[in-house]
């Protein structure tokens, strides 16, 4: 790969200009109205653009752009279904169906955190503590995903080690969230949101135009279906413009279950029960403000997720047309008409002879599908003459299968270097706005939902700011440790999907039941949350092969297998949400049906409009 990574004076000017504007807006914000609550206190309305972009900036982070964009580079445009759900569920259903009831219930009950909302609705300290513990324990996993995504990008863009980038990222985060910058300053969020939008529009237009147009780009990518790496083809990858093979009972269907259940459903549905997003509805002034925010939110999410998913997929076509030349020996002709061949990759030694590149994973000569553009006679290290071919490959080959590096590599190779600096700032903005709400949620979970509620003899304690700050520091340290120690296949997307899936299974039935049903009981909600969490953890520890084998418990239980269902094809690829969410929902309904409904006075307090 050519060396595009360095920091030039243009980068420094761009970064300084951006930081100056952010600092100025932050200063303006601190002098006057700054958060959603301030607008509400003043009886005024935040502009819908500000509300929507601020919400979107909290939702979208490096996890979506680098993590899921990279997964699209690996698996293809089937990921567009996630954007479809992000708009349909994350904006339309969320804003139109859940927004106003959440706002009203939170205000009626005086709840300020998501666990507090559930706890007050069900008059249960146990539910509040349960939700607080879950958030405190698992939110750092999601924060680690955001941090890893940003660090991988910085490492690629500026040519530094991942560990150094992570350290810098962690320090910036600490400086931002610990001294009190965790409060959402809406003007700053909005400015950062606009930078993200402009960067995405430029990226999309550049990618399509460099490939000759929308249809031409798609057609070219469609023609690369024979170049899908063999390990992906074996699990059902049919090309970057096609859905994976659908079916049940054979390994060739694994990818469909990975993409649809783990990548798309987990995040697509899990967004409804994200604590840091649900509380944002409480800060909204009225239903009208929510209605007005829908269009901006939808367009924002379309650009922020649709662009990286399209660009991730199309980066395969870009590298096949413009990537650095790779050399090797033809092993198998794939499509003579398109000059596509499977090639054993080779490198030139100091003596001028050619030798095979050994894959560190398989310890065998590395192979890749190339579009061959040049052929010449050459000599290997044994002195034998052979035909050396040169050509380009998909981005998957250039990043050696590491999906998290696809977007950073594409940006640093294909786009002007100054854009890389701006894109980095957009990513930093996306990461900071998300992480500020993540760590705010961790802090309030520990301080308000745990410390205050776990008082002596059940008495509520005074809020402790020290506990909140300590919790944020601990959460940050856990997130950094996770980022530092776990580097696996598309880990950014997987961590995100695990957290979103856990939230969906544990919270969603109780949350929606609490908003819309007078019949759901405290016992039903607690049982549902417990079943959702336990089934999810059981699945992650013992069934879902990728996660279970990484944790290691399943090998001890089964004597070395990666899943207790390793002999039943497809089950080890199914995400916990498919089993845990229905189980939690069923539990909520059944237990509520057989337990005493809440007191009428309490329900009148929750739903005074329905009295």
């Amino acid at each position: 790969m050519p060396d595009h990574a360095s920091v030039g004076w243009i980068d420094i000017v761009v970064i300084l200009a951006y930081l100056s504007v952010t600092a100025y807006l932050g200063w303006l914000g601190y002098r006057g109205t700054r958060s959603a609550a301030d607008f509400l206190v003043g009886g005024r309305s935040a502009h819908p653009v500000i509300m929507a972009v601020s919400y979107g900036a909290t939702f979208i982070s490096t996890a979506a752009i680098v993590g899921f964009g990279g997964v699209a580079g690996l698996f293809g445009m089937s990921l567009l279904w996630l954007t479809f759900l992000n708009i349909g569920v994350g904006i339309l259903i969320s804003f139109i169906v859940l927004g106003e009831p959440t706002r009203r219930l939170g205000h009626h009950l005086g709840a300020h955190t998501f666990p507090e909302l559930l706890g007050q609705r069900y008059q249960s300290r146990a539910i509040q503590i349960f939700a607080g513990v879950l958030i405190f324990l698992f939110m750092p996993l999601y924060a680690a995903a955001v941090m890893t995504g940003g660090s991988v990008f910085a490492a690629t863009q500026f040519g530094i080690d991942f560990e150094v980038a992570l350290l810098i990222f962690a320090l910036i985060t600490a400086a931002y969230v610990i001294p009190g910058g965790i409060k959402a300053v809406m003007y700053t969020d909005t400015f950062q949101g606009f930078v993200m939008v402009l960067a995405m529009i430029f990226l999309l237009v550049f990618t399509y135009s460099s490939l000759g147009g929308v249809t031409e780009a798609h057609q070219y990518l469609d023609g690369m279906e024979d170049m899908v790496p063999a390990p992906l083809a074996k699990i059902g990858h049919q090309g970057w413009t096609e859905m994976p093979v659908f079916g049940w009972g054979a390994p060739t269907y694994d990818l469909w279950w990975i993409v649809i259940t783990a990548i798309i459903l987990g995040v697509g549905i899990g967004v409804l029960a994200q604590p840091q997003l649900a509380v944002r509805f409480m800060t909204v002034r009225s239903r009208r403000e929510l209605d007005r925010a829908v269009p901006i939110g939808a367009v924002f999410i379309m650009l922020m997720t649709g662009t990286p998913f399209l660009v991730g997929s199309l980066s395969n076509a870009w590298f096949a047309q413009h990537g650095p030349i790779l050399n090797g020996k033809v092993v198998q002709e794939l499509d003579a008409e398109k000059n596509q061949a499977l090639v054993e990759l080779m490198q030139k030694t100091d003596s001028g002879a050619w030798t095979a590149i050994i894959s560190p994973k398989t310890q065998a000569p590395a192979t890749a599908a190339l579009i061959v553009s040049e052929r010449q006679k050459a000599e290997d290290t044994n002195g034998n003459s052979f035909e050396l071919v040169g050509g380009r490959s998909s981005v998957v080959t250039y990043v050696k299968g590491d999906a998290d590096k696809i977007i950073p590599t594409f940006i640093s190779t294909a786009l002007p270097h100054w854009f890389g600096a701006i894109f980095f700032l957009a990513l930093l903005a996306a990461a900071m706005s998300t992480m500020s709400s993540q760590f705010h949620t961790i802090g309030t979970a520990a301080g308000r939902d745990l410390y205050e509620r776990i008082g002596t003899k059940g008495q509520q304690r005074e809020p402790s700011l020290l506990v909140m700050r300590l919790a944020i520091v601990v959460g940050l340290l856990i997130a950094v440790t996770i980022s530092y120690s776990i580097r696996q296949e598309y880990i950014v997307a997987r961590f995100t999907a695990i957290f979103f899936g856990l939230c969906a299974a544990a919270f969603l039935p109780a949350y929606i039941g609490g908003l819309f049903s007078r019949r759901v009981t405290k016992a039903g909600a607690l049982a549902s949350m417990t079943v959702g969490l336990v089934v999810s953890l059981f699945w992650l520890l013992l069934v879902k092969a990728k996660e279970a084998s990484a944790i290691g418990l399943v090998q001890l239980v089964t004597g070395g297998k990666t899943s207790i269902l390793a002999d039943s094809p497809n089950w080890p690829s199914v995400d916990p949400i498919v089993v845990a969410l229905p189980a939690a929902l069923l539990t909520l309904i059944l237990v509520s049906a057989f337990t005493r409904p809440p007191a009428a006075e309490h329900l009148d307090r929750c739903f005074p409009e329905k009295r």
């Binding site: 958060s35 609550a37 301030d38 509400l40 206190v41 009886g43 309305s45 819908p48 445009m77 089937s78 567009l80 279904w81 954007t83 479809f84 708009i87 349909g88 904006i91 339309l92 139109i96 939170g106 205000h107 009626h108 005086g110 300020h112 009190g180 965790i182 409060k183 929308v214 249809t215 031409e216 780009a217 798609h218 057609q219 990518l221 469609d222 413009t241 096609e242 859905m243 409480m282 800060t283 002034r285 009225s286 239903r287 009208r288 403000e289 929510l290 209605d291 007005r292 925010a293 829908v294 269009p295 901006i296 939808a298 367009v299 379309m302 802090g443 308000r448 809020p463 700011l465 909140m468």
Partner: protein
């Protein structure tokens, strides 16, 4: 169409655009449809929220 042969991928591609348009129409049609009143309860909630945030 658009160089996408797989109908499901094409549906997702066009569906995204359709949902965005639907969202814009929704926002325009409902622009002033819902009530926009701040109750005392809403204001009290915001004051409590602001107090915690400011202390933080």
């Amino acid at each position: 169409m658009l160089g996408l042969d797989d109908p499901l991928v094409l549906t997702a591609y066009l569906g995204i655009i359709a949902l965005a348009i639907l969202s814009i129409l929704y926002g325009l049609l409902r622009r002033n449809a819902a009530r926009d009143e701040v109750s005392d309860e809403d204001r009290q909630w915001a004051l409590d929220e602001k107090k915690v945030d400011d202390e933080f």
